[in-house]
């Protein structure tokens, strides 16, 4: 079943040139860091932006990715453009 993690994970995977499963794992860690136990399917666009801007940025910095801000910006722009997926995937 398609989830927002799949969709965002795919984008992170392309941006970082890593395996999709690694990107999804990284995203799950970022969600856990800033949203603790909030279920992914209950996250709004604002929540996702917080996960990307805080959680993912921090994770990328920990890994040592030099252009983390650029990558986060790309993924954030992507989900803003495709924000209707958050609703359509949920139902």
């Amino acid at each position: 079943m398609t989830s927002i993690i799949e969709v965002l994970g795919e984008q992170i995977s392309k941006a970082l040139n890593i395996k999709s499963i690694q990107a999804k794992g990284l995203l799950r860690l970022a969600i856990k860091d800033v949203m603790s136990d909030k279920p992914v399917d209950q996250m709004s666009l604002k929540d996702i932006k917080v996960v990307l801007n805080q959680g993912l940025t921090e994770r990328l910095n920990k890994i040592g990715v030099s252009n983390s801000a650029q990558i986060v910006k790309e993924v954030a722009n992507y989900i803003t453009a495709n924000q209707s997926l958050i609703t359509i995937i949920k139902i």
């Binding site: 040139n17 794992g25 990715v65 803003t80 924000q83 209707s84 359509i88 139902i91």
Partner: protein, 253 residues
């Protein structure tokens, strides 16, 4: 009011209110707040039939205005959050449109005139066109973006259905905008065609709403029949440190 028109209003009232309630229940269950706006809009548009049954188009204008503004809220929250949009402009246009509907209805009752009735109907037609043209545009634009993604086709189909159903809502608005000019000139029976147009588009809208918001598994499977999910790497459990290390290695840090 003839029996056909009266029946139409009853069918419209029941179908739209019941569907609205179902959508709200779905929205609450799935915690999709923007969908609550959509469910409420259906209820408000359905309730507009009650004053209409008593011949009060001005009373109906209030419910219609609220219902159509709620559609705008749904579009804004679903497609345009944190993006530039004509939302405020459209809300103002709808408030003006609903006010025109009410004012020109009351005026035409004091001073019976086909012109005043036409302005009332035209205000209603334009008020319907604003949110549903926007919804058609928003659905189509999003469809163009998501159709290339590797996601289940039933998700992509929902965008098409939403666009089609929004477009269907433009049909009665178009009929309404030409009803009086045609009825007083070349087609005296055009009002009957308008009524049939309204009934058919209402029924189609409801059917599509059920497919869209309550898509049965059989329909999902049908849309997904040619879809082969991308081969997913074996989901092995690894620790946080191992994951971070493997990413570092893969990107060469």
């Amino acid at each position: 009011m003839d029996i056909g028109t009266e029946l139409y209003y009853y069918v419209y009232l029941i179908l739209w209110c019941v569907t609205g309630v179902f959508i709200i229940i779905k929205a609450v269950k799935s915690k999709t707040i923007n969908l609550i706006h959509f469910g409420l809009s259906l209820i408000s548009l359905g309730l507009a039939s009650i004053p209409e049954l008593f011949g009060s188009y001005s009373g109906a204008a209030i419910f219609r205005g609220i219902g159509l503004i709620l559609v705008l809220f749904f579009i804004e929250k679903t497609f345009y959050e944190e993006k530039k949009s004509p939302f405020v402009l459209f809300v103002i246009c709808l408030i003006i449109g609903a006010s025109f509907m009410a004012i020109f209805d009351l005026w035409s009752k004091v001073t019976p005139s086909k012109l005043l009735e036409y302005i009332r109907d035209l205000s209603f037609a334009i008020s319907i066109m604003i949110p549903f043209c926007w919804l058609t545009f928003a659905s189509y634009s999003s469809y163009k973006l998501v159709k290339t993604l590797e996601i289940e086709p039933h998700i992509i189909k929902r965008y098409q259905i939403l666009g089609v159903v929004a477009f269907i809502n433009l049909i009665p608005a178009t009929f309404l905008s030409v009803e009086i000019p045609l009825a007083i000139t070349v087609m005296p029976d055009f009002s009957d065609i308008v009524l049939i147009g309204f009934l058919v588009s209402s029924l189609l809208t409801i059917v599509f709403y059920y497919i869209l918001w309550f898509m049965p598994t059989s329909v999902k499977n049908y849309f997904n029949k040619d879809y082969t999910p991308k081969v997913i790497e074996e989901d092995v459990e690894i620790s946080e440190e191992e994951l971070m290390k493997s990413i570092r290695e893969d990107i060469g840090i």
